[in-house]
């Protein structure tokens, strides 16, 4: 039975090893902040961190996450005050909000690896995540705002 370390806690998940991490998080562990959008690695709504790197949870079997550190939106910060989350509030980014967990996780991973990205680097990193409401201009501004603070 694979053991997942999610947001610093260990869980045994009663699921087949090839089960996508997305469903283990959402339906087994109740961490529904990570969203299902396409199931095919196309939209980024399910983006989480695996050992600090942004991955599509829908494309990550739980056996590949076994023993590695998984961080979800719920564990990005204790009180929602990660610089990226704060910037998302300051720029009033979300509309429907459904894609935003994934956007925030993607942005946080970018800034962890590259604290001072150029605008082009921001756009390049964020292009894996779809938003249907059209919040993209605000996403760019929020990542730029958070950049100095990570």
């Amino acid at each position: 039975m694979p053991t997942l370390i999610v947001n610093g806690r260990s869980f045994s998940v009663d699921a087949e090893p090839e089960t996508p991490l997305l469903w283990a998080l959402r339906e087994h562990l109740g961490l529904t902040g990570t969203k299902f959008g396409c199931g095919a690695g196309l939209c980024g709504a399910c983006t989480v961190h695996l050992d600090g790197e942004a991955v599509f949870a829908c494309q990550t079997p739980i056996e590949a996450a076994d023993g590695r550190a998984v961080t979800t939106i719920e564990g990005l910060s204790n009180t929602g005050d990660h610089p990226v989350q704060r910037a998302w509030v300051q720029e009033q980014v979300p509309q429907c909000g459904y894609c935003q967990s994934g956007q925030i996780m993607r942005a946080a991973a970018l800034l962890a690896a590259n604290p001072r990205p150029t605008r082009e680097e921001i756009i390049d990193a964020m292009s894996s995540n779809l938003c249907r409401c059209g919040t993209y201009p605000r996403i760019i501004r929020a990542v730029e705002r958070a950049a100095g603070e990570v």
Binding site: W23, C38, L42, I73, G97, Y98
Partner: protein, 732 residues
């Protein structure tokens, strides 16, 4: 008063309060709150006061990203004089339509057509003024003074003569409040000069939850003992399962049952991954008798276009002024053109999901659903269980995007959840995958537009006839409304009426065709296709008349000061007609119901690939009084990106009745690297507030098409303007 809300599940906690609990000393705050047990008291149907000073304001529209959780309560709080930092907001799950219905959506709880602020503005103001009056009368009674001597400041009731003050929360603790107050009339409402809240930009109440993964959408709902259901749906609408082999499916661990339904085969399992694996292991033979087997978008669009062109085919008049057919028959100079649009899919980011827990007697249920209409969904649930609406305990969930997808449609997945829960005697969550969502989508239908105009010798447009050929959306989506609509389809035809344009002889008509797919409203509704066609045609008329895109529109808008204002503003913002090298500008005037807008696109074109790049987009928007200007701007911006996505990239094709697209690889909305820089200017005309959620869409189509014409001399006559189509246009 009735009407229910379930705030505990939502991320709508006011940010100030939320941080108070979550930040330092949180435990102490919680313990004190538990000890104090604040009393709460309903003031009227919309407002509840708590003795700790919290004011709970309800709103009856459904939140799908447009910010009604903030804009609607702001209107009420303004008139009530509530302290906004002490306001908590609650979305209504259900309630009597007489109290809570939106007059602009048929008097029911229905969120569509950018009508929330427009429809509820007067209602929320009066509700706020009524609540304030109750507070004043209650305090006056407690102080034994005349109500006329009592006034308010945000959150406080005052008797200036004696210096007495009472916090709003203290009214909740009074032994008695006075609800029998004189009715509120318009004269009692605050003059605009006294507004403190409307027109400001407080943070949206839903945003903290949406940055923490805390907001609960219907797809997130989990209830104890719940089963998951994945559906095998027919490849073509209307087919039914005739043979089901489920041996392999039932062998998947965790699968509870396979149930054949009239229109689908459902797999019920303890785990979602088991449900989908078992669904994939099903072997289902479907009927092959559906009339939709012959649906073919390419062939059907050609027929749609010929129906639009064939003037012998009667059209249902939507708007007539003067006599356009006669004027055209007699016209010395008649210009004709044709435009087409193809079907589009909503691509809301949250695939459809519904959760139902049917009561043991099978005649009632608790239901969780993201829906644009609580009223319609409750009625659909009652119908599915052959029961009465009072037996449906409804939770209207935050929607992961709506865009028209969750208007009437959500009834089918809700019905399935109810029937499966009743059968299994357990709560059931039905989820659609993205593939299910696309292949069984309700699409904006293809349209063909045949336009004719008469130009006077001076180059004025003296007559215009706009024929739209398409199936009726209303007939499919809302058959009961259609039965009383006299063949007037508001979901297809609205926007053609062109009332801002001074054209003496005018006719807009609808050539109604049989539907060949499931059809639906799509953000912008008819305004998107209709204004793309009309505004691209206006540029053709400008060219024919030897005029230019701005002058001809200024002439047409001569009697519309608001229209002229948005047009002139966007011309100035964009420095229209003076683009950087190798780029061009295109302009479109656009409306959306009472809201007016105008947009300019700046484009370049890769002539080798046919790829259009929109670099910048400017828009001027007049939606009357702006309740929350920053949110209005966000909505307009989002609408523009949505519109550009549709016109550049999005196309549903159907062949042999089967939808050809499956996921975001072959139906890919615009990504972040493809967006233009967007600039919005809000024009405050002082008109009553009107919608903002869709105004961005209708201006995009013609702005881009007209810009491409300015760049290449070629007209783009069919949406979307995909690279292959652009190359084709360039080669003609």
């Amino acid at each position: 008063m009735s009407g229910t809300t379930h705030p505990s599940r939502r991320g709508f906690l006011g940010s100030a309060i939320g941080f108070a609990v979550l930040a330092g000393g949180g435990l102490q705050v919680l313990r004190d709150a538990a000890l104090a047990q604040p009393t709460s008291r309903a003031v009227n149907a919309w407002v509840t006061l708590s003795s700790d000073g919290e004011v709970v304001i309800r709103f009856a529209s459904a939140e799908m990203g447009q910010g009604v959780n903030t804009s609607l309560p702001m209107i009420l709080a303004e008139e009530m004089d509530a302290d906004w930092s002490r306001v908590r907001v609650e979305q209504l799950d259900q309630g009597p339509v007489a109290t809570f219905g939106n007059p602009n959506t048929g008097g029911i709880l229905f969120t569509a057509g950018s009508s929330s602020v427009e429809g509820y503005f007067a209602i929320m103001r009066r509700a706020g003024a009524h609540a304030r009056r109750i507070l004043i009368h209650s305090a006056a009674q407690a102080w034994r003074v005349r109500p006329g001597e009592v006034t308010t400041e945000p959150g406080v009731i005052l008797h200036r003569a004696s210096g007495r003050r009472m916090e709003f929360g203290a009214v909740a603790a009074l032994p008695q409040i006075v609800t029998d107050v004189p009715p509120v009339s318009d004269a009692d409402l605050k003059p605009r000069s006294a507004w403190r809240l409307i027109g400001t930009n407080p943070d949206r109440r839903d945003i903290p939850g949406k940055t923490r993964g805390g907001t609960v959408y219907s797809i997130d709902v989990r209830v104890p003992n719940m089963l998951y259901a994945a559906l095998a749906l027919p490849p073509v609408e209307g087919e039914r399962p005739v043979r089901v082999s489920d041996t392999r499916a039932l062998a998947v661990p965790g699968v509870a049952r396979v149930i054949r339904m009239p229109h689908a085969v459902a797999v019920l399992a303890e785990r979602w991954e088991a449900a989908t694996a078992a669904r994939d292991a099903l072997d289902v033979e479907w009927t092959t008798s559906s009339p939709f087997r012959s649906a073919d978008t390419e062939k059907d669009l050609a027929e749609t276009a010929s129906a639009a062109r064939d003037l012998n085919r009667p059209g249902v008049p939507w708007e007539a002024r003067g006599n356009a057919p006669d004027a055209i028959a007699a016209g010395a100079r008649v210009i004709e053109a044709e435009y087409r649009t193809e079907p589009t899919y909503h691509a809301q980011m949250e695939p459809l999901a519904a959760i139902a827990s049917v009561d043991p007697d099978g005649r009632g249920a608790e239901v969780w659903l993201g829906t644009q209409s609580q009223t319609v969904s409750i009625a659909a649930a009652a119908q599915a269980l052959e029961t009465t609406p009072d037996r449906i305990r409804f939770h209207a969930m935050q929607m992961g995007g709506g865009f028209g997808r969750r208007t009437f449609f959500a009834r089918d997945i809700l019905r399935d959840a109810l029937l499966l829960s009743r059968e299994m005697r357990r709560p059931v969550k039905v989820m659609w995958t993205r593939e299910d969502d696309i292949r069984n989508g309700w699409f904006r239908p293809a349209t063909a537009h045949h336009l004719q105009a008469v130009l006077s010798p001076e180059g004025r447009v003296t007559a215009l006839r706009h024929r739209v050929a398409s199936p009726s959306v209303l007939a499919f989506a809302a058959p009961q409304r259609w039965a009383a609509a006299n063949n007037r389809d508001i979901l297809v035809m609205e926007g053609t009426e062109s009332t801002d344009y001074a054209i003496p002889d005018f006719l807009a008509e609808h050539v109604i065709l049989e539907r060949r797919a499931r059809v639906s409203a799509w953000r912008g509704i008819g305004w998107g296709p209709n204004l793309y066609a009309r505004e691209a045609f206006i540029d053709e008329l400008a060219e024919a008349a030897g005029s230019d895109p701005v002058s001809i529109r200024r002439q047409l808008l001569a009697s519309s000061p608001r229209g002229l204002a948005v047009l002139d503003t966007v011309v100035a913002m964009s420095d229209f007609g003076r683009p950087p090298p190798r780029r061009a500008h295109g302009i479109s005037f656009a409306g959306y119901k009472a809201t007016l807008g105008a947009g300019v696109a700046e484009v370049s074109l890769n002539t080798d690939t046919g790829e259009i790049r929109v670099h910048r987009f400017w828009a001027a928007v007049d939606s009357g009084i702006a309740i929350h200007p920053k949110n209005l701007e966000a909505q307009a911006e989002g609408g523009i990106i949505f519109g550009l996505s549709g016109l550049l990239k999005e196309r549903i094709t159907i062949s042999g009745g089967e939808v050809q697209q499956a996921n975001f690889h072959d139906y890919e909305p615009m990504r972040i690297h493809e967006i233009p820089e967007v600039r919005i200017r809000i024009i405050e005309s002082g008109a009553p507030p009107s919608g903002a959620g869709e105004i961005g869409v209708p201006m995009t189509g013609a702005a881009v098409a007209n810009a491409v014409h300015a760049l290449t001399g070629k007209r783009l006559r069919q949406m979307p303007f995909t690279p292959d189509r652009v190359k084709q246009a360039l080669s003609t």
